[in-house]
Each structure stands twice: as C-alpha cells, then as structure tokens.
Symmetry: C2
Subunit: 596 residues, 2 copies
C-alpha cells in the first residue's frame, strides 16, 4: 500500500523560517497564533491524515461510490467514519469564521492542513473542500438570515456543500446555462434543470447537503448577465432549523471517471426544487467567482499534494528496489544489485519532482499568507498589493502547478517500472486522481487566458510591476550572497525573460488578440517558473543563513541542493517558452478548421 | 463512442510519395508490391480496423479479461470473433515468411497496418503483436524442427505467442532471474518459476499459446551469462503436430492495471512445465534481444497510434463543441457560441499533436523501410547503413515517441474539458492505454541509456555520422528551396545543436559516465526532435513539389502548415534540452540517497 508522511519539517520551515507566520499575530483574530499552536496543528493534522485518511485512499479508488435506485449514494467503506472523526476533531472548522462556530485560524494554516488532506486522500478531501467553497459563497452573498440558517452546520462540517455550475452543453461558457428558476410565490424559487459533474453531489456522510446552484430566473437577460445563484438544500429546513422535508433535487447517476473514484461525481436533477436566491437577481456569477478563485488555489494545492505523495512513494521505491548497477561501479557490492536511485535518470525524475514540490509549496503558502494579510490589514496599500498578487498568481497556482503535477506524478509512476502500471501499488491512482485538477475550476487553458487576457493588464499592469519591484529589492538585499550565485543569477535571468515575454505579449496582443492567446500557456509556465525561482531564492537565503549560523541539520544543505537543481535544470525551460511565444499566433491559426 | 478513421491519405503519401515503396520491388520477394497492391492492403486494413476493432476498444476497456478458477481466461465480448476474422483474412500472416505460410509482404506495410490496428484497439492488437515477437525468436534461434512444428500455426495466427521475461524481483535487470530449467531426460527441460506482467499470457482466442520463456539451466553461470530461452507450449504437441496434453503452465492471476484492460496481463506459474531449448544453452538473451528490438519499434508505433486516435477525437470535438467566442470576434454568429477550435490554445494542443503524429509516422515508416532494405539488399554497405540507422533510432522511436504520445494524449483529453475525464467519451482510455508504452520493452530511461551508452558510440559513432552526411546532402540538394526556409533553417539548426550535445556527452561522459546518464533522456528527445525535423523537411519538399506541379489537393498546403508548426513551435525545445544536458550530473547526484 502506498505510504504518506506529511512533510511537516518543510511545512514548519516555510511557516516559521521563511514566512514568519507569527507576524499574523498583529491581526486581532490571530493573536494566539504562535509557533507552538501552529506546530501542534500541523502535527495533529499530520497524524489524522497519515493514520485515518491515507489508508482509505486506495479503498476509495477501488470501491468508488454507489448510487442506489432511490438516488441515494453510499461512499466507500470507512469514509463515513473518517468524516465523522474529521468533523468531531474540528478540522472542517479550522479557518472558518468564529461567528458561526469556526476556529478562526489563518487561511495559511488551512492550506497547510489542506495539503496533507488532499495528499493523503484527494477524493475524500474534496467533500469538506467543496463545503468551504459553498460557505464562502454564502458569506459573500447571503443574507444575515441565510448565514444564520446554513453556516453553523456547514462550518462544523455536519452539513456539506456543493457547487452546481456545469450543464451538459456548457461548462466554461456559463452564459449558455439553461437551468431555470421560477418564483414560487413564497419568497423562494422553483429550480428545474440538470447539472453534471457535481462533486460530492450526493452522499451518506452528512445530515444535509447545501447545493449552490446557478440558474436563470424566468425572463432574465440572455448570457452571463441573467444568471442568479441559489441555495437549494437537500432537506428543506424545519422552523427550528433542523433538516426536514426532502427537496426535489436528486442524483440521477454517478459518472464513471478516470480518477477520484471516492468522490461522488453526480448528475443532479432539479425538478421544481425549492431554492432561495443569494444576493441580487442576475448577479450570481459575481458571487460564484469569489468562491471559484479560492477554489482555484485549492486545485493548485491538490496538484502539489498528489505530486508530493507520488514523490514519497517513488523515493522509497527507488531506495529499495535492487536492479542493475551504477554506471560508476557497484554501490551495493554485497547485494545482488544496486538500488535504482543510483541511476542518474531515476534521480532526474525524483529531483525534478522534489524541486517542483518544494517550490510549489512555498508559492502556495506565500500566496495564502498574502490572503490572510489582505483580509485583516488596515493598511490599504498593503491590502491592494496582496489583492494584486492573488489576482495575478491564482491562475498560475491553478494552471502551472497542476500542469507540472501531471508530469511529476507520471515520472514518479515511471520509477516503478511495470509495477507503476499495476493498480495495487497506487501510483496509477495518483496520476488518475491528479488528472482532473487540470480540468475543473476552469481548464488550465482558461487559467492562462485569464492571466494574459485579464490579470496581467489590470490596473495598467500594476500587479506584475509590484512583484518585480519586490524581486528587485530582494536581489539588491542579497547581491552579496556569494555562496548563492546560481540562485541570484537564475532569478535575475528568469525575471528578465518574463519581462521580455510580457512586453512581447502586450505589444503583439494588441495587434491581434490571438497572439496573446497563442502564447498564453507558455506564458503561464514562464510565470510559474519565475515565481518558483523567486521562492527558491528566498528559501536558499534562509537555508544558507542557518548553515552560516552553525546549524548541522541536513535539511538546510539538502534544501540548497534541491534549489540548485531547480535553477540549473528546470529554469532552462524559460527560453523554450519565450521562443514559442514569439512565434505568435500565425503558425497555429493558419490551417482551416475543417482540415483538422 | 470514440471514432477512428485510419489516416490512409497520409499513409499513402508516405509510402508512395516520400518513401517510394515500389523501390522494394527490386528485391525478389517484393516483386509484386506495386502501388495498387499497397493501396488495396491499406484500404482493406482500414476497413477491418475501423469496422471491427475500433468498436471493441471501449468494450475491452470496460469488461477487461476474466480469469476463471481453473486458470482459464475469457477475453472481452467480441474479441474472439474479431480475432477469428483477423486470422481468416490473413492479417497476422501479412509480412510473415512464405516458407511457413506467410504472405511475405514488406515490414513497412505491416507497420502501416499495425498502426491502424493499435490505434483502433491497442489491447487487442497486442495479441497478434506478441505472436510476431515469438515468431521472430523462433526464426532467429530455433532448430529446423522447431520452426516446422510451431511457425506455420503461429504465422497464420491460429496459435499465439508470448514473451516471458519479467519476474517479481527483476525486470530491467534480467541477470537476476530465478526461473529454473532442469533436463527431463527426454531432450527437454522441466521449467519452474513465476513470471509476471505476461501480456496475452492466457486467453480463449487461439488453439494453443506458445510461451517463450527465459530461464536458468541448473548449474548455469550467475547473471546474464547463464540465461537460456525455451519454448513452453500451453498444449504439448501430439505426434501429428496438433495440440495435445495440457502443459503445467497456468495463469495464476490477472493483474489489475491502469489500462490495456482488454489484454490479459498474467502472472504465469510454471510448475515443471515441459520446455524446449531454443538455440544454445546460456545464449538466450541474444535471441531475446533480436525480438525485443523489433518489439521496441512496435511500442513506438503504439504511441503514435494512441496519439493519432486521440487527435482525431479531439479535433472532431473541437469542431463540434460550442463554447465561448473567438478572441477576434464571433466566428459562428448564428450559433449560441463558437466551436472551441477558434481558441488558439485549443489549436495549440491540436497542432502539437498533429505535427508530432505526422512526423512520428514518417520516422517510423522510414525506419521500417530501412529494415526491409537491410534484410534483402545484397549491397553490404547499404545493409550496414540500414543496420546502423535501426540501431541508433530504435531507442528513439520507442522512447521519444511514447514520451511524446503521453503528452499529446493528455492534451487531446484536455480539449474535452470535464468530458475528457468521463470514461464514456473514451479519451481517458487513450491516455491510460498509452501509459504502458513508456514502461514495457525497456522503460524509456533504459532506451535513453541504450542510446547514449551504447548505440551512439558503436563503431566509432558511425551511425550518427552517416545520418548527418545524409542530412547534409539533403540540405545541399534543397538549399535553393526558397519557399521552405523554415524547414531548411530548422533542420540545419537542429542538426547543429544535436552535434553540440553529442560532443558534450562524448567528452564529459568519458570523465564521468553519470554525465552521460544525466543527459540521456534530454539527448533522446533532441534526437527525436532532430530526426522529426529531417522527416518534416523531406515531407515539405515533396508537398511543395506537388503544389508547384499544380496540385490543388488541400493535403499539401496543410502538410506544409503542420510542418511549419513543428519547426517554429516544437523545435525550440532543442535549446532547453541542450542547456539541461550541459549542467551535467552534479546537480542531480549531489544529494545523499538517504535524504530522498
């Protein structure tokens, strides 16, 4: 069975040594968030994920979810119990609003714990993950009464939530959606239509499921301007707030899919189901996008999680599996063969994955930290900077991290040879589960388009300019780091190339928007590489300082080795992406559509 | 259900216009191979694959193979009938030796038909594919009696074959294998041991299964020097040659695996099974490698096949699916949205796949043509050149083509958005089936090592020098192709960079073999890119000539458009690979193994 050990050392390194999580104490709700509390949460989170969630991962894949004739759905063996423990131990409420019973911890800590949950069992972690998104939408758009009615039980995790967007004929282009809402004369609406790909749409783990549903109120304008958001509870609430009468929303079938079998991906049929408008009529997408943006960061986290657990298993296998001899002569002379980790190409796949993982983790946590600061700072300039960074980096975290995790999980599977293809080893599952992360919450091509078409130019390109200034200041501060030349040179070069690509896209995208579209995914990867280079340079400075201070923990030199690998062996991709971007749209748009 | 339409136009372009298949007529066995015959075989092959094999592809994935308590295995619904048709129509015998009932067609034609078979149903095509390998081994190493006893029924396809190499503790490193052979006093051997991952190991489609088994004769030397090859038939032969008594080789279980569910991947248990030595004692690997080399080309073909069928479905979907509007304004004003093929990034994924497929097909067929020439020419110098090319390019065809097809099948799946993740659309299957191609017949990292560690330096580097001379001559011949500057410049630059990488590896690999190992996969990709660039330049010259001659078939300008895409948007990867190679082994070998 695959292993999972939460990377708590690396997590604590980032939270304490790189990001200084205690700086959040200056914000009133985080007054108690000191090093001991953070470490206790990380350690307890690790224990729960390693001991309870990880062993259920392969079970969930194997059994999947079962829909019964009445539309009810049973989750895989052990999921219900594990979810009960998760709720009872307060993991769902961790970073939620204390007003509704949450523990009010920083989002940064929720991301840290969330990474462990998704790495140990992605399909399982999606149930509380989607609840988080639904809570967010109600917080942003709901009335005080709606908040009071739904949030406490969702915050505790006793009720779960879903997002109902996609319909058979529309996913990316929500303007085409057809689900309709008709006022029911009692202040609510009758919702009718079919939604597909609804994660956690129906299951047996919670007393109620709160569906958030995009629909068009009868007579609303066409397109995206006529879409409203509704709460449709599985069980309508009694006057005392407890779940009562069953609503007419049912799971019509469960999709057979490539991965995340433990999560019930449902076709949901709404047959005049009772629903309640959130916020204003026809303004539903606005609320949905708030929730979606947070979800996108969560999807990037899923990619990292799968990449990390795949790495751990591949590294263990590479150290254990004896096969062949090192090119430089036997390393395990008494054994029948050397462990395959002696082979450079096995190392290449491991180092590539590790260098990506540690850089991606830094970027993810760094972004989460900015989100916490943005929410709580009274410094408007600082809040603006945080918001700029999040806007710019959300598509990169979603798109680049999951594109990369697809490659790394495949590489880690490759290390197992034939055994990687056999389901019992679990490596196939990491690849298959990870696969969805490139698709949902906006396919990665859409992320890239959001980046170059919207985020980059917003406020005259302020976000990237601010980030560049921050990097310049960092480079200036560390220009004397004689022991870290690869890091400072790598970062400088990455920044220069990213700037060149940005200029090219700005100039040529104006001439022909297809030029921007054609280079968008390459550009997203360049920004991913450049921001990871920045994270690596920051981490290297911290690690080097610890070494200079006399630390003899292997963690620090290994951090530098891993970072150097990133700088020397992964950053060269910048040139290839830049060259591709500069070819523009013509080579890919030249052929008539009919000829494909 | 997914579609498959054999790319017969492109196949005929390559066979007739680029490779001039009729040149093979000068070799005695191919006297009849004219254009009409070739086209008839292609068209009939297409009909069979599109009509019979393709519809069974998703059935095979869904049902898989079933092992019964007695060790017998049932293949998916329809497989047995389809196989019967395949045998009756003579497809298995197509390129086999007429001495044993084969039709004696060129291997090039078998590759062409094989591509259709594997594209329409990879799991199915593996049954006759493995038979081909087993035939090869008996042809190379078997006695006249063995050939007479086994080949006629294998050539017709009435009996199938397998390759039994891998054991639980060894795959790549066959020197460790433990299966033992003890003389039985009747001229044969008692074979005992366990083999795993045995494709087509047991099934219900043929009257007999001829297992080729690597085992160690009692008292043989340790390691690779003590391995012999045996024939172990499922049914021992009666005196009249018909299948008789059941041999003690049984399928112990079927592996649950990520893909190719329609092929029965078996654990095979040999319990003093009766076996017959092929060739000399302890020389089994030599024969096995002849067969393996041919199989490796076949695996590259599998990658191309999956990439092509994935492309066809993605292109059809991209033209059909309406979602969003073109960046340059609506292209389908009367519809609710534009087809997604208007989006540059969807185009990017399609063009990348198409440019790879057409280039890969050319390389594969070009190599197959050299194999036919090598086998039949009396010109020793020419035979040597063909053998050099095949040695050099076999690992590239296996490793580069399947690495790339992994990316392209994933990209094609991505075009389907959420639907790509749902099994009923079939895109997941192409990805999952393709996944094994990077692993079996020598994992891709092993291919890369074979290339840089063995093939490149063989005979003083003669193979690559000869190929470079051929490219130089081609460039000289076409230096006036003013209409094709991207092609000639791209090829020139690719050749220069490949040479630079080769020099670096030669020099630095001698200092430290890990330098060669560390750059091996990057180098394999460089050679893949460079040889595809050569193929594209060749194809472009032919296409341009047809246009200049007044052809108004769209096929030719589209060929140029696709090739230009390859040159402009895919060749830039050469620089990234070169830069990575030049960093050497140090960054990836620096960390202690225990720290992973």
């Amino acid at each position: 069975m695959p292993i999972y050990q939460a990377p708590t050392r690396d997590m604590k390194f980032l939270l304490h040594e790189v990001l200084d999580v205690e700086q959040l104490q200056k914000f009133e709700p985080f007054g108690e968030v000191d090093r001991d509390l953070v470490d206790a949460i990380i350690d307890e989170g690790a224990k729960f994920c390693e001991g309870v969630l990880a062993p259920l991962n392969i079970v969930g894949d194997h059994e999947g979810c079962t829909r019964h004739e009445d539309g009810s759905v049973t989750t895989p063996t052990g999921f219900k119990d594990a979810y009960k423990q998760m709720v009872e131990n307060g993991w769902v409420a961790l970073n939620k609003d204390p007003e509704y019973g949450g523990q009010g911890m920083p989002g940064l800590l929720a991301i840290t714990v969330g990474e462990m949950q998704t790495a140990s069992n992605m399909a399982f972690a999606m149930y509380p993950g989607l609840t988080g998104g639904a809570i967010k939408a109600i917080e942003v758009g709901g009335s005080p009464e709606q908040k009071q009615a739904y949030l406490p039980n969702m915050v505790s995790g006793e009720w779960t939530g879903t997002m109902n967007l996609t319909e058979p004929h529309c996913g990316t282009d929500l303007g085409m959606l057809k689900t309709k809402a008709v006022p029911n004369g009692k202040g609510g609406y009758k919702i009718s239509g079919q939604k597909i790909f609804i994660s956690a749409g129906e299951h047996d783990m919670a007393d109620n499921i709160i569906h958030l549903v995009l629909a068009r109120i009868e007579g609303a304008p066409e397109g995206t301007k006529g879409i409203s958001l509704f709460i449709v509870p599985k069980f309508k609430l009694n006057d005392d707030g407890t779940p009562g009468e069953r609503n007419t929303v049912v799971c019509g079938s469960i999709e057979e899919k490539m991965g995340i079998h433990g999560n019930s991906t449902c076709v949901m049929n709404f047959d005049e189901a009772e629903g309640y408008l959130i916020g204003e009529e026809n303004k539903g997408l606005r609320v949905m996008f708030v929730m979606m943006n947070e979800a996108r960061i969560g999807v990037g986290m899923q990619g990292l999680g799968q990449s990390d657990v795949a790495y751990q298993n591949a590294a263990a296998y590479a150290k254990d599996r004896l096969q062949g001899r090192a090119l430089t002569g036997p390393k395990n002379e008494d054994g029948p063969a050397d462990p395959i980790i002696v082979h450079p190409d096995v190392r290449r796949m491991l180092m590539e994955t590790r260098a990506f993982n540690e850089g991606a983790r830094a970027l993810l946590y760094w972004a989460a930290m900015h989100e916490d600061i943005e929410k709580h700072t009274k410094d408007e300039k600082l809040a603006e900077k945080c918001d700029d960074y999040l806007g710019l980096l959300t598509p990169v975290i979603k798109g680049y991290l999951t594109d990369m995790s697809m490659r790394t999980t495949i590489d880690c599977q490759q290390i197992f040879g034939g055994h990687g293809f056999i389901e019992e080893w679990g490596m196939s599952q990491f690849v298959r589960d990870n696969r969805i992360a490139l698709i949902y919450e906006g396919a990665n091509g859409i992320q890239a388009l959001d980046l170059v078409g919207r985020k980059l130019a917003r406020n005259g390109g302020r976000a990237l300019m601010t980030l560049n200034q921050e990097i310049d200041a960092f480079l200036k501060d560390n220009k004397d780091s004689e022991s870290l030349p690869e890091f400072m040179e790598g970062l400088t070069s990455a920044k220069t190339k990213l700037t060149e690509a940005t200029m090219w896209l700005m100039q040529n995208g104006m001439k022909d928007p297809n030029n921007a579209g054609a280079g968008s995914v390459d550009y997203m990867h360049m920004m991913g590489l450049a921001t990871l280079a920045y994270m690596w340079a920051k981490m290297a400075v911290v690690a080097q300082a610890k070494i200079d201070d006399g630390s003899n923990e292997d963690f620090y030199p290994n951090k530098l080795i891993t970072g150097r690998y990133f700088m020397l062996r992964m950053l060269p991709m910048m040139d290839a992406h830049l060259a591709k971007i500069k070819t523009g749209a013509e080579p890919m748009m030249a052929m008539e559509a009919a000829a494909f």
